[in-house]
Symmetry: C2
Subunit: 464 residues, 2 copies
């Protein structure tokens, strides 16, 4: 067998076999590769060869390779497959992979696929599809081995030999009582190490940890992280065994979750595909929507500044510090929102922590604002004493205006940035909607009002 290491590319041999369309030799060469690497081959070669190469694969491998392909490739291939070929393809996929496929494809394609599911396959896929998107139920697979509490270790191993073929994971097996309730999980390793006659329920192993089918994705990820497992059993609310979730699916889910959050925090919609695979129109749609919404929000800054146009005409010097002050509020808000969004996603704290967070942010906002304000004050005095700017003869007043405004704006930014994710979660939205640019926009408008109000209070009768 071939040894794959990180970053395998399509080897020159394979490339030449494909170019010269030597299908039978190619067939042999592909059979030795890992399905993920075959998928890479399909991604790299020109699209017109996709279907031809795909048909070369043994049916089991074809299913595995298909699971590894990006969505647009999957769609492209589906259209080239007959009903029977489609059925064969799905038969080789685990139910959780089937569900993921059905979830992600457009409705028309989904119907074609569901039609081709065999009567045996349909119930499992349908059952998984019954759980809301983003819950544990969607990620579980019913392909695990269950054993009875009164079996001995030897009997359990015999049972596994008999029924274990083709199950997604064997490294943990599950003790289920006659009512279908999950009693305990046992690592295959512990079974192998146990004395032949030990009852499986007496095998000492780490305590049972399970999740409910209705638990949210983030909770499942947090449970995996906390208990360091390769697989977790999923039960219904009565403790009946439903399926298992494996670590590889959790890693995928965690990575996808983080990617979505990062893209949202950056101020676009989640791309749902690797950057280079997103075409021009998709990219404009995913980014343009938020960009336009933020732009419209930001036009309020022009309105707000319009109200102070008279003051700007009197003392243009006041306008100079507008970007500095509002961006500092945006920056502190962006820090707060990204930290809180992640903390909520990792389940480090719950919604009830909002009051503690508010206190913390008020205090640190005050400290950071005071500090930045002091730096700003010094900068203005420095420019004045160096003779670079006269501030119409009132450097101290101008300095204090900037200082006081920064305290207000940074505190406001920290509070808005930290509270918005809580609020969004509370009303049922994704906290990551409180993106850095969104918070910055909110703070820009308010920051302007804070700044000009402070300026009018301090500078009235001198500059204004």
């Amino acid at each position: 067998m071939e040894t794959s290491t990180v970053g395998t590319l399509v080897s020159p041999e394979l490339q030449s076999l494909i170019r010269e369309k030597k299908w039978s030799e190619l067939k042999e060469a592909l059979a030795d590769l890992h399905p993920a690497d075959v998928a890479d081959v399909l991604i790299e070669v020109p699209d017109e060869d996709d279907a031809a190469i795909f048909r070369l694969l043994p049916s089991e491998m074809a299913s595995a390779v298909f699971s590894y392909l990006p969505r647009d490739h999957q769609q492209g291939l589906i259209h080239t497959l007959s009903h029977d070929q489609m059925r064969g393809l799905l038969a080789g996929m685990t139910p959780d992979d089937q569900v993921r496929l059905l979830d992600e494809l457009p409705g028309k394609v989904t119907r074609k696929i569901i039609d081709s599911l065999s009567p045996d396959e349909l119930p499992a896929a349908r059952e998984l599809l019954g759980y809301p998107v983003g819950t544990a139920g969607r990620y579980m697979t019913p392909q695990y081995v269950r054993i009875k509490p009164e079996m001995t270790a030897r009997e359990a191993l015999q049972h596994i030999r008999k029924f274990g073929q083709g199950k997604e994971t064997l490294s943990v097996v599950y003790i289920v009582d006659k009512d279908g309730r999950l009693v305990e999980d046992v690592k295959l390793g512990s079974l192998v190490l146990a004395d032949d006659e030990t009852l499986v329920k007496d095998i000492q192993d780490s305590p049972l940890v399970s999740v409910k089918a209705t638990d949210a994705r983030d909770d499942v990820i947090a449970t995996f992280q906390k208990y360091d497992r390769n697989a977790l059993p999923v039960t219904d609310k009565d403790g009946k065994m439903m399926g298992i979730i494996t670590a590889d699916d959790v890693l995928d889910a965690a990575q996808r979750r983080a990617t979505e959050d990062i893209q949202k925090i950056g101020g676009s919609e989640a791309l749902d595909a690797p950057y280079l695979d997103v075409d021009f129109w998709q990219m404009c749609k995913k980014r343009g929507g938020w960009l336009a919404a933020l732009f419209l929000g930001e036009t309020l800054t022009a309105t707000a500044m319009g109200h102070f146009e008279h003051e700007i005409e009197k003392a243009a010097v006041v306008a100079l510090f507008v970007p500095l002050i509002i961006s500092s509020g945006g920056n502190s808000g962006s820090q707060a929102t990204s930290i809180i969004i992640r903390s909520l996603a990792l389940r480090e704290m719950g919604l009830n922590a909002w009051f503690k967070v508010l206190g913390k942010e008020l205090v640190s906002g005050l400290a950071l604002g005071t500090f930045l304000g002091f730096v700003g004050f010094c900068r203005i005095l420095l420019w004045y004493f160096l003779g670079w700017h006269l501030y119409d003869g009132h450097p101290y007043l101008m300095g204090f205006t900037v200082w006081a405004s920064l305290i207000g704006v940074v505190m406001f930014g920290s509070v808005v940035g930290s509270m918005l994710p809580f609020l969004l979660r509370k009303i049922g939205f994704d906290p990551a909607t409180a993106s850095a640019p969104f918070v910055a926009t909110l703070v820009d408008v308010t920051g302007l009002i804070i700044y000009f109000t402070v300026a009018m209070l301090i500078l009235r009768g001198t500059l204004l």
Copy 2:
């Protein structure tokens, strides 16, 4: 045994046992819990009880519980332990957990720990410590089972029964030849299913995938994601078997990596601890540093605007659109940088993709800028025809100024935001240093210059 589900808190029974200091009953109750839950108990109870409760734990469990504690709790406990207790504690930890502990604690504490390592334990920990931070070597554990290629399935299972006790994972075993080279990995499940006399090297299983000890953390995570494994073997450059990395450690690494990136993208340093555990001074340090640096960068906006003070005095209306225009550049830059940072971290593309990305960003920046500019143009005309603002009689010129500036600023933002992560990685920095606020600051200063330059070109002789 207790069944834990998501979100277990310290039960009222345990709380009362602790309050009434019923140590022997508490000892029994704790022995039934998962170590991660015992760690939660230690986190929740008042600090003065920590050491007392910790000493109640059987030595094996103590080590496991210790691994689950946050860093500050670990440090607190270490100071209460004798040399012998410390040795016992470390003996129960796997080498990778030892290394993580040594990595994260301050030097003085580390020395105390290394002193207490037994001569047996020291080499493994030292070997792992020899690999740079953030490479596969730091995450591997030498606690796996190796078998010989010429063993039969039955012999291999006997071997596992004899040597498997206490290994971190048994679900995969590794075929290593007499030169120490890794030949193949075999799932324990496949071994159990195989006929007794089949040679282990003939067992059909998924192809071997391995990582090198010097591979970067991101590469290891990407490999796990690609190949859906529970454990991956680590080799040196000659293919000699060094250890294994387990999926739970990879999930932890992936989550930590994403958390760091999100915090950095938000514009602060990585917090290295849950939000609520970070004290006031730490929080100010992690956030204040960047906030001050960004503030100093942003003072350049005041300088830049100072150059155009004369223009602002002539036509204050020009100043009204400053926040709108520069923030749009910042927003598009923030989108681009967060998308690219994540894409690089996921290894969706390499450094050589920069040119493709540049082309994509130029085109989408142009499209998005044109679109936003059009919206801005319409907004100005609308205000004019509604009679809300007269734009000194030149609404069209003002509108075209905003439109043209937005095209320039949004393109500039997209390009800077997307190229900066590549540049940073190229010169050896973390791409996530190109935080959203950092990009926004860069774009603010340049955006001002773009805007006023365009304004002077278009409005010269009319408004300016």
